[in-house]
């Protein structure tokens, strides 16, 4: 009898983790699921064509609000618990780049995103000087070769999206340097410590003041999850297109709408928060 119940429970749990594939739908016409390098903006190596796709999150109902409130009660007063958290769903992005030209080329596909409070767009952050490295993206941005009239498929894995979401939270909530956030592996961190705002060097010195811990550490249960995925295609060569799809694997009910971006507008919540601008670079 015990084995029978275990089998039934296993099937139910397996069904709760079934993935949902999200593509651009009718609800948000601003989403772009096919990026064309012919539409790139900017110049030189900074030229890029962008697209974004929202995660079909549902407006929080009474149950979700109660869970959030109960979780907030266990947190320090200065730690805000988000509505859409890291433990509620996992994301991965599958992409396909096609070379429409008859010559070989190279491209870089960068992944950024937005949580419910801030978005991250490194192209809006101007380096301090000509020798300063460009602000990093949250994932990807790796040179990849593509043959003439060829196709390259790839995926941003779930763990990469977890890492990217934590990096954005660290950058926007903890004042952690973007390079430090993206270069250090944080996907298994139980918490992160907010720091003071990065100040410029005092007069007569090239060394900026050290950042000091400020406030309570943010535990993993309060990490923010992505509610929007942004992709940027950079290429200097042939005409390329990128198609991509978002794969969502919900872990709790009533957070992700099963109709995806074709759900009625009143049944999903589309977030377009402001872009986070970090403090002055050293």
């Amino acid at each position: 009898m015990g084995i029978r119940y275990l089998l039934i429970a296993s099937v139910l749990v397996a069904c709760a983790n079934d993935p949902e594939y999200v593509k651009c739908g009718a609800t948000d016409t601003m989403d772009v699921c096919m990026i064309d390098s012919a539409n790139a903006t900017g110049s030189g190596s900074a030229a890029s064509a962008k697209g974004s796709l929202h995660v079909p999150v549902m407006p929080p109902d009474m149950d979700l609000m109660k869970i959030t409130t109960d979780l907030q009660a266990t947190m320090p007063a200065d730690v805000m618990v988000p509505i859409y958290r890291l433990d509620q769903y996992d994301l991965s992005v599958e992409w396909t780049v096609k070379n429409l030209d008859d010559k070989d080329g190279q491209f870089k596909l960068a992944l950024n995103g937005a949580n419910e409070v801030f978005a991250w767009d490194p192209s809006l952050i101007v380096p301090a000087d000509d020798e300063a490295p460009p602000t990093p993206s949250l994932a990807g941005d790796i040179p990849t070769d593509i043959p003439a009239m060829g196709q390259v498929d790839g995926v941003f894995r779930e763990d990469q999206l977890v890492e990217a979401a934590i990096d954005l939270d660290q950058i926007s909530r903890a004042n952690i340097n973007p390079f430090a956030a993206t270069l250090i592996i944080n996907k298994n961190d139980p918490s992160f410590q907010p720091l003071s705002v990065q100040l410029p060097p005092p007069a007569g010195s090239n060394m900026p003041p050290m950042q000091t811990p400020t406030g309570s550490a943010v535990p993993r249960a309060a990490f923010r999850q992505f509610v929007r995925i942004d992709l940027a295609l950079k290429t200097l060569g042939p005409h390329l297109t990128v198609e991509y799809a978002l794969r969502v694997r919900p872990h709790v009910a009533k957070v992700i709408h099963d109709m995806g971006m074709d759900a009625p507008a009143a049944e999903i919540h589309i977030y377009d928060p402001p872009t986070y601008m970090p403090g002055p670079a050293p």
């Binding site: 594939y21 396909t96 799809a245 709408h257 099963d258």
Partner: protein
């Protein structure tokens, strides 16, 4: 009689007893010569050939036939393994995949049974990328009826039923096999098969082939082939 007298008498008897026994042997008649005469007579008789004697069989020699292969009847359970292959539009979007099934039923008559079934199959979605290399599961469950007959060890049947199909993800939405938010559909199936009754009247093995049709999933159609083993709980 005094002790001394009794002792003297006992000793005297013990002394003369062997002598008395020897005398009995000498009194027995000598029949060894008679025995010799009898053996000669028997030998003379054996030299003669016996007369032929007719022996008529009173009972015909039994012809032993193998026992008939009986099949139990009553509640039964079937477990099967096989494969599901799609046709038409779905064949371009979903590959052949392994399947498993379970059926519980009751033989109402020797030629008719009813039952409930549950099956699951696993398929790779071969849709245009992205996504690529993703898999989905198709679960089916419902009720069915089976008409059949038996010739010796071989049974044959046709079956048909109706139920519900559940698809595990919307990976086929991109090719419009499923609509946004669609996970459930009614399903119909029909087919037949053969069954071989084992010596144990409770066990049989069989081959079943069913075609099934899933209405809401863009009229998805497929073929479900399975090998199964059946256990019948009833008597024969």
């Amino acid at each position: 009689m005094t002790f001394r007298s009794g002792l003297i008498i006992a000793l005297t008897v013990a002394a003369v007893r062997p002598a008395l026994a020897a005398g009995d042997d000498d009194a027995k008649p000598d029949d060894s010569a008679k025995k010799a005469d009898d053996s000669d007579k028997d030998k003379a008789d054996s030299d003669k050939k016996p007369e032929a004697v007719k022996v008529e069989a009173l009972v015909a020699e039994p012809k032993i036939e193998p026992p008939k292969r009986t099949a139990a009847s009553g509640f039964f359970a079937e477990g099967g393994l096989g494969a599901v292959n799609y046709f038409g539009k779905t064949a371009k979007a979903a590959a052949l995949g392994p399947a498993m099934s379970l059926r519980l039923g009751l033989d109402l008559f020797s030629w008719f049974s009813v039952g409930i079934f549950a099956s699951a199959s696993n398929h790779e979605a071969t849709v245009p990328p992205p996504p690529e290399g993703e898999w989905f599961q198709l679960y089916r469950g419902g009720g069915d009826g089976r008409l059949g007959g038996r010739i010796e060890r071989i049974a044959f049947f046709i079956e048909g039923g109706v139920g519900i199909a559940i698809i595990s993800s919307n990976v086929l939405q991109g090719v419009m096999i499923t609509d946004p938010g669609e996970k459930y559909s009614i399903t119909f199936h029909g087919g037949g098969g053969l069954e071989y009754q084992l010596e144990n009247r409770h066990f049989a093995i069989g081959l079943g082939i069913d075609g099934f049709f899933v209405k809401q999933f863009a009229n998805m159609s497929a073929l479900d082939s399975r090998l199964y083993i059946r256990y019948t709980y009833g008597g024969g």
